[in-house]
């Protein structure tokens, strides 16, 4: 997760990079990420995206780095963004 202390002061985070397995830690505080504008998710799997993510109302840009050849169900939780980046990489991370 970057920044590593994002969960300590989520309301001050404007840009967040996580891996898919970080959802468990992030989701309980998702409503507190009120200033989050850019979200990058590495290692995206094919389990459905949580509906709670729609609470990220300031989000402008989402980047999903996929391991598989399809998107996880529930992508519409990010439907308010202005920018969407989708990449399939060999390890689900930025090269």
């Amino acid at each position: 997760m970057h920044p590593p202390n994002a969960l300590d002061a989520p309301n001050r985070v404007s840009s967040l990079v996580i891996t898919w397995s970080d959802w468990d830690a992030v989701l309980p505080k998702v409503k507190q990420f009120k200033a989050l504008k850019r979200l990058t998710v590495n290692h995206v799997e094919t389990a459905p995206l949580a509906r709670d993510l729609a609470a990220l109302r300031s989000l402008e840009s989402v980047e999903l780095l996929l391991l598989k050849e399809r998107l996880p169900p529930g992508i519409e939780v990010f439907s308010s963004v202005k920018e969407l980046k989708l990449s399939v990489t060999w390890d689900g991370r930025q090269s």
Binding site: L67, R70, S79, L84, K85, L86, S87, V88, T89, W90
Partner: protein, 380 residues
């Protein structure tokens, strides 16, 4: 670890992105292209990087706000048939792809300002590209099959920049130089005939346009047949075989070499010697009197450019020593089957003087193969 999978499809839920302005997809494997993208009415920029796109269903022209499209490293042989009908498209970029043409119909691309078709497989550009009313920048660099800029481009009154590096252009329409808005023409790394090159140079001087011309390449006249076709002497071939100085099966003897901005015809005997010299084999042979020295047979085009010691035939480098000397060979018109050897001291290379010292046949007879590697000579 394997090659990444390709994104094969997009879900219909993407249509719910009613504010989306920029979409970037990396490693796409679409066939057909997902039409849900056509429903993104607010999209302004679409970037697809790496992958493959098969068929394009009609409908992309529904994207009324789309201003910029880029396809980079996409295996895609044709464009959407209604691409030119996109009303707001200002920039279209395809690079490192397989596009062979860029069709333009009357009234297409009314808003297009920047057209980049770089490092593709274009063999022609339609004359109608000159009818794009807002075209300011055209980049067709890196299309090695492209031989012509269409005369119609001279109708593109707003054209400011034409980039056409690394093509095979034979000529440029003179009328282009009269375009009032044109500021830059880049023709680097094309090969024009001498007359065309001179004409371009004159036009460039006469206009206030930055013209980047290729280097001039003069082609020297052909050699008399008796010299051009004389084979290498049998005894030389035999000795080269004995020393392991042999050409690879894929190596064809060069018929021309570039030295000092000129293309010189290469006689058959020298051509064979050059193709064999790329073997890199080392030999021990007499050098400058009774000394024995090691030579590495090698030939690089940079060596050829370095030595401008040319009068009536090119000297060409066939071997290097580890001690700052180069072995050059030149054809003797009286004995074309048996070239003459010269030695060039690399420290004195600016003087362009090479010392004649032996016939190739005589020198090779005294040579022996060397097994241990020889170090490349110092340059500079």
């Amino acid at each position: 670890m394997g090659w990444p999978a390709k994104l094969k499809a997009l879900p219909k839920e993407l249509a719910a992105f009613r504010r989306l302005e920029r979409l970037r997809i990396e490693n796409a494997g679409f066939d057909p292209f997902p039409t849900v993208i056509y429903d993104l009415a607010t999209l302004r920029e679409l970037h697809v990087v790496n992958g493959r796109i098969g068929e394009f269903p009609i409908g992309i022209s529904r994207m009324k706000r789309l201003r910029r499209i880029s396809w980079s490293q996409i295996e895609m042989r044709s464009l959407p048939s209604d691409l030119g009908k996109l009303p707001a498209l200002q920039a279209f970029e395809a690079d490192r792809g397989l596009l062979r043409t860029f069709p333009v119909e009357k009234g297409d691309y009314r808003a297009l300002e920047q057209l980049t078709l770089k490092d593709c497989q274009l063999s022609t550009l339609p004359d109608e590209v000159g009818d794009l009313p807002r075209l300011r920048s055209l980049n067709v660099s890196g299309n090695p099959l492209l031989t012509e800029i269409p005369p119609g481009l001279a109708r593109a009154q707003k054209l400011e920049s034409l980039e056409a590096e690394r093509c095979q252009l034979r000529r440029i329409p003179d009328e282009l130089f009269s375009l009032r808005a044109l500021e830059k023409i880049d023709l680097t790394d094309n090969t024009f005939a001498t007359d065309e090159y001179k004409a371009l140079k004159r036009l460039a001087k006469a206009h206030t346009i930055d013209v980047f011309l290729p280097r001039t390449i003069e082609r020297k006249p052909p050699l008399p047949a008796a010299i051009a076709d004389a084979p290498l002497a049998k005894s030389i071939r035999k000795d080269l075989d004995r020393l392991g100085v042999i050409a690879s099966k894929s190596e064809k003897p060069p018929r021309e070499v570039e030295i000092a901005d000129a293309l010189w015809p290469v006689p058959s005997a020298l051509g064979e010697l050059l193709s064999r010299s790329r073997s890199g084999r080392e030999i021990q042979a007499p050098f400058a009197g009774s000394d024995m020295s090691r030579f590495s047979f090698s030939y690089f085009s940079s060596d050829l450019k370095e030595y401008e010691c040319i009068r009536h035939h090119p000297y060409v480098v066939i071997a290097n020593t580890p001690t700052y000397f180069y072995l050059l060979v030149s054809l003797d018109e009286k004995e074309p089957a048996d070239p003459t050897l010269y030695i060039l001291d690399s420290d004195e290379s600016t003087a362009h003087e090479a010392r004649r010292f032996d016939r190739l046949s005589a020198w090779l007879k005294k040579a022996r193969p060397v097994k241990t590697p020889v170090r490349a000579p110092h340059r500079g």
